[in-house]
Amino acid sequence: MPRKTMIEAIRDAMDVSMERDDNVVVFGEDVGYFGGVFRATQGLQQKYGSSRCFDTPISELGIVGTAVGMASYGLKPCVEVQFADYVYPAYDQIVSEAARLRYRSNGQFTCPIVVRMPTGGGIFGGQTHSQSPEALFTHVSGLKVVVPSNPHDAKGLLIAAIADPDPVIFLEPKRLYNGPFDGHHDRPVTPWSKHELGEVPAGYYEIPLGKAAVRREGKDMTVLAYGTMVYVAEAAASETGIDAEIVDLRTLLPLDLDAIVASVSKTGRCVIVHEATGTSGFGAELAALVQQHCFFHLEAPIARVTGWDTPYPHAQEWDYFPGPARLGRAMLETMEA
């Protein structure tokens, strides 16, 4: 099977979806002629014309707001917000409109939109090119929230997101675009061509939203991760020698609680890792659920390893980033508790 980068896989998902369904349209800042600053939409305008793939003014509100209108007409817009850090101007349209349209109109109008955005740090992007705002969406009823961790999933999840009848926030860990980054920023980059999850089937396939994947089976503890942190967890497991089971959540809302409960019930220990700020991060919800559903299986407190409660700094990027050393320490502590 061909191996692709994550960007190629994402592009492929849009291509396949546009090919299959005339109602799929793609737009955003620099998305049309140029093909996006990360080149995710490269070639789509050429192939499908500028009525189906086009540049927009720099207004995230306008991008999502018009997408909501288009969706209510019957189109299936898949729009790009250039960086997740820039989604806030569109937050009202997402939270108050996209998320509630089906509910408040009792299904007369629906909002099948996908809002794609590169997320996460590790590229020296400073506070405005590094954020992971997933928890600001998981609190919003009516949304679905997806974070792929590899090209294979990225394509299948994005196809499923575009096909989904409801609004999906699709967060792309930009540090994974080129390879499975494990947090060892001082080592050479592994490309996707060297990783089996870089294998991306041609054509249409869906990875269902709401299903987690176990990336590594283990007996001693469960690590709940998504996006870049999946590889950080793999590194931490192998470096600490802990036989950790690594669950890649893939979809945060709706969450695959069964997979989580099954794993933690088995291992009795749980560490949660994400790059976003800790307080009220998605790890809080995970910890709350795990203690609720696995209370009598837990042998140690659930640990959260996250970005600190500060804005994402520039020079101190690697002090902020929850890398394998920090995660490994927490895993060891959790084993000893």
């Binding site: 349209v25 009525s51 189906r52 927009t56 003014p57 207004s59 509100l61 306008g62 707001g65 018009t66 997408a67 909501v68 209108g69 288009m70 209510s72 007409y73 019957g74 189109l75 101007p89 009202d92 349209q93 108050s96 409109e97 349209l101 089906r102 509910y103 408040r104 109109s105 009792n106 299904g107 007369q108 109008f109 629906t110 009823s141 009516g142 679905k144 009848p165 409801d166 709401g210 709706p254 969450l255 609680l257 069964d258």
Partner: protein, 410 residues
């Protein structure tokens, strides 16, 4: 340079406040028939002045005059009058129902009836409105069953929205009426998106966005104008300037520009200002703008000059911030009376028939209300189930909501 006098902070103030004598002498009202009618494909630069004037058709004597007259025949006008009367009667009954505790909330249209009623008649089947809470005339003039409006207002068991929405936040897709949001402005840009979609698909349907004078300050207004201008979206963008945004007079939102229509000029969007209390003028301008959209000539911005006669909502008491009798001196008069007089001048109507029509209309509303009340009112009779609360968040109920519904025992 430091000899400059200290800066002073400027906050616009209305000319009168409670206790003062209401006064609109500063509002310039052009004579009916005096504003020209450009052709729909004329270059917008050539009629910028229309954003600062007021297009009017009905003169003081009740005659229809000038280049914007003549879009409607007797029958259509009689129907228009009936729609406005129905809306007014509906409002009165629902205001009362709110006071009786049959609903939690109501918002009336008093004085603004012509705008939504006449606009609706300029649209085709399949066109889509993105209304605010003060355009129920779109439903009434569009033939939506009044009893369903009431079912929604009463949040009863026949409520088409299952009790989920605040009263008056209707949704009626089949009647070209988009689900109303309680968040101001958000739908203005959605209307542009809907119109863009119609163009993308090579369809012939157009959209209409609606916003209040106060809400033009919101960000969505800007996004709507930017996107409509860039993609030449087939949309009519309507600003209803009823002089007030709850307690705040229009000068706070408008600032230093003479009018709200003027906002369009900076985007190259043709902008018209129209007498919102003149059914004929509203219809003529709406038809003109709709034709532009349909002929792929792009968006039009229309400001309807009117006056909110009633309170903002049933939670509001305007006597705290404006003279009680201000509406009485409003120079554009009452839209119902003006159309009635015109029909009489035309020889198509009489005081007697009007009285009779008032009775009929009231009857119709009361009949509908009785039917609706059979389905329950907010605190009595049939109501949507708690189960309904969990439905429709998503197309398919995800596991966590299923668990929660179970937990709720419904």
């Amino acid at each position: 340079m430091s000899e400059d006098a200290p800066l002073r902070f400027h906050v616009p103030e209305p000319e009168v406040r409670p206790g003062d004598r209401p006064d609109f002498s500063n509002v310039k009202i052009p004579q009916a028939g005096s504003v020209r009618r450009p052709s729909v494909d004329e270059d917008a630069e050539q009629f910028r002045d229309l954003a600062y004037s007021i297009i009017r058709v009905l003169n003081r004597k009740g005659e229809a005059v000038g280049p914007w007259a003549g879009t409607l025949d007797d029958e259509e006008l009689l129907q228009g009058l009936r729609h406005m009367m129905l809306l007014r009667a509906f409002d009165a009954r629902m205001q009362m129902a709110q006071r009786q505790g049959k609903t939690s909330f109501y918002m009336q249209h008093m004085g603004e009836e012509a705008i939504s009623c006449a606009f609706r008649k300029a649209l085709n089947p399949g066109d889509m409105n993105f209304p605010t809470y003060r355009q129920a005339g779109l439903l009434i003039a569009g033939g939506y069953p009044m009893v369903d409006m009431m079912n929604q207002i009463f949040s009863n068991e026949a409520d088409p929205l299952k009790g989920r929405q605040l009263p008056v936040m209707y949704s009626a897709k089949d009647h070209g009426f988009f689900s109303i949001s309680g968040n101001l402005g958000t739908q203005f840009v959605q209307a542009v998106g809907w119109a863009m979609a119609s163009a993308i698909k090579g369809d012939s349907k157009i959209a209409a966005g609606w916003i209040g004078d106060g809400s033009t300050a919101e960000s969505d207004f800007h996004a709507a104008l930017v996107f409509a201008s860039t993609y030449r979206a087939p949309v009519v963008l309507n600003i209803v300037n009823n002089q007030w945004a709850i307690s705040t007079f229009q000068g706070i939102a408008r600032g230093g520009s003479g009018t709200f229509a003027a906002r369009g000029l900076g985007f190259g969007i043709p902008a018209l200002r129209v007498d919102g209390n003149d059914y004929l003028a509203v219809h003529a301008v709406a038809s003109w703008a709709a034709e532009r959209a349909r002929r792929n000539l792009g968006p039009t911005l229309v400001e309807y000059v009117t006056y909110r006669v009633g309170a903002h909502s049933t939670s509001d008491d305007p006597s705290a911030y404006r003279p009680k009798t201000e509406s009485e001196v409003w120079p554009l008069g009452d839209p119902v009376i003006r159309l009635k007089n015109h029909l009489i001048v035309r020889g198509a109507w009489s005081e007697e028939r009007h009285k009779q029509a008032e009775a009929e209309v009231l009857d119709e509303v009361i009949t509908a209300q009785k039917a609706a009340e059979k389905n329950g009112t907010l605190h009595a009779g049939g109501k949507p189930s708690a189960r309904d609360m969990f439905e429709g968040v998503y197309a398919e109920m995800p596991p966590h909501l299923r668990r929660q519904r179970q937990q709720a025992g419904v």
